[in-house]
Amino acid sequence: MKTPLYKEPNSLGFYGNFGGAFIPEMLYPNVQELNEAYTTILASNDFKKDFNKLLRDYVGRPTPLYFAERLSERYQTKIYLKREDLCHTGAHKINNTVGQILMAKRLGKKRIIAETGAGQHGVATATVCALMGIECVVYMGAVDIKRQAPNVSRMKMLGATVKPATSGSQTLKDATNEAIRDWINNPTDTHYIIGSVVGPHPYPDLVAKLQAVISEEVEQQLFEKEGTKVPDHVIACVGGGSNAAGIYYQFLNNPEVNIIAVEAEGKGILTGESAATTRLGRSGIIHGSKTLLMQNKDGQITEPYSISAGLDYPGIGPMHANLFESKRAEFISVTDEDAMKAGLELSQTEGIIPAIETAHAFAIFKERQFNHDEILVFNCSGRGDKDLQTYTDYFKLID
């Protein structure tokens, strides 16, 4: 039997049946350049030194592994939170942008482009560009520019240009299309910092490896607290799947660890307003990758919906499509309503206001029970400051 490729793709970029690089020839030289360089750069001592230094001194790593006592008591199980919300800029996204900006510099690039949904990746990209003094253009769906306004201001404050994507559903998928088109038009001087484990090979692998630091730290921290490196469950929300890839990474090939992925169900699976890719999608091609995606019978990509801009995406990364197909991971979907309630609950039991994306992960207690001695590690992927307006309106907190 072949060992399944959970962690790393094969040389053509495939995780099982998913992945690859289905890109127009116009992008081939750019993607090829990255593909030829990324493993060498990631493995070089010089890169590792710069990367680890910035993660420590600039991002604030390691982030704490926090035992959530009151939440654990409520659900009669052992709940740990990996506090990615405490990273500089407020989410895990910066682990990836720090790594990619260092890579872009080594490739001699003078201009950075990115797409963003919730704006967290856009802010994380704008931040590292400011740090390095490199020009930055961020594409963001016009709908997301409205619902994540604080992050738009942050990007502008950091000196980035924010360009609205006005096609399609005007959300993350469309912002990604625009970023790819920009890259086609600027093939030599520009590096595209993609924000999740999506896109053509080698991006899914590159981003997963840059986020892997999350689970590397968890192993060590859990050992200090529990005397074991191995949790029973690791749990994360999945938009494209980068925070999930990060917290799963070290555990993917250990069958003792149960992997749980939480998708955004929006208003409900059958309402036509959902972003639960594994429940509504099938294999196809999106943004240069063969993966599970929501589409009609003709292969036209369906416009997704979620209250959370970062999960409002009609696909998932090929690594996750493979985890789903091979049944290595358990996929659960939760509605807007349950996610919002879970966000409020985490705020009021632990004093941590999560991003709405992150809140989806904490809504699994409605769907799933755990034993009292099981260890759960949640990726608390981001903080909720950017979502205060949405939370406030939803719960009518101000009258």
């Binding site: 116009m26 030289p29 030599t188 091609i285 589409q295 003709d298 292969g299 036209q300």
Partner: protein
């Protein structure tokens, strides 16, 4: 394999090839646009199968695609619209689209439907050559379909040779690093590129696309190649003037 593309490429006259989006402006205009193009002496036609997320296309083709999808276009409908294609014309016709549409229809079924309608070739910008060769080449060939590869100014000589080897009609030279329609005339850089590829003496003929909008740009590109493909400029023209006004557009390109 010998199809209408090969036959036309053997003739010395430069090829004027027009791209348009199927189902645009109206759903059932597809065959009528083809009729107009043929009546006005166009040498080759690319029928664009509209896609929701056309990564390689600029605003003009994006908009025509969005409209065509709103009009109800689909792969199946395209093949129904084209079933009498060969009763009205013998010019080579190529389907251009994105690979996901083909994949969902079934690659084999898609090629069969193309052959039934008398289609001669397929351009799928996001179907990479290595996957084409490994999985689909024999199916294409079984149905007499040419697979047409794209190259750009950034494509390495080594890669061009590989693409040339895998192609069997013409190579689609993208005029500059760009999405469709985003060009403002050709300068020395583009001309040098056309000449450089011309001088490589590839086994396939060359046709230039992206950024051709008038006779000047046409002549510049055709000087080193077998002809040109015009897309966005034609779609803009029929959007503004209606498909009945195809004649003056083609005339402006063809008066030599």
């Amino acid at each position: 394999m010998q199809n209408r593309i090969h036959q036309r490429l053997q003739q010395p006259e430069k090829i004027v090839s027009i791209y348009f989006t199927a189902g645009y402006p109206k759903r059932d205009d597809t065959l009528e646009v083809i009729q107009e193009l043929v009546n006005n002496g166009v040498d080759m036609i690319e029928v664009g199968l509209p896609y929701s997320d056309p990564l390689a296309d600029g605003p003009t083709i994006q908009q025509s695609s969005t409209q065509a999808l709103k009009n109800g276009m689909s792969s199946q409908l395209l093949f129904e619209q084209l079933k009498d294609l060969r009763q009205i014309t013998s010019v080579p016709v190529i389907v251009m689209g994105y690979f996901n549409a083909m994949l969902q229809y079934g690659v084999k079924a898609f090629c069969e439907s193309c052959e039934k309608c008398g289609i001669d070739g397929i351009i799928m910008p996001d179907l990479p050559i290595d996957i084409y060769q490994a999985e689909y080449q024999s199916i294409f060939e079984q149905h007499q379909l040419s697979f047409i590869s794209l190259i750009t100014p950034q494509t390495s000589d080594e890669r061009i040779k590989q693409l040339d080897e895998a192609s069997n009609s013409f190579i689609y030279m993208v005029s500059s690093a760009s999405t469709t329609g985003s060009q403002a005339g050709f300068g020395q850089t583009e001309l040098d590129y056309f000449k450089r590829i011309h001088d490589m003496r590839l086994k396939n003929k060359l046709i230039v696309g992206f950024g051709i909008k008038d006779q000047t740009s046409f002549d510049q590109a055709a000087q080193y190649t077998s002809g040109c493909i015009i897309g966005s400029a034609y779609i803009k023209h029929i959007t503004e003037h209606g498909l009945r006004q195809t004649k003056p557009f083609i005339k402006s390109l063809k008066e030599q």
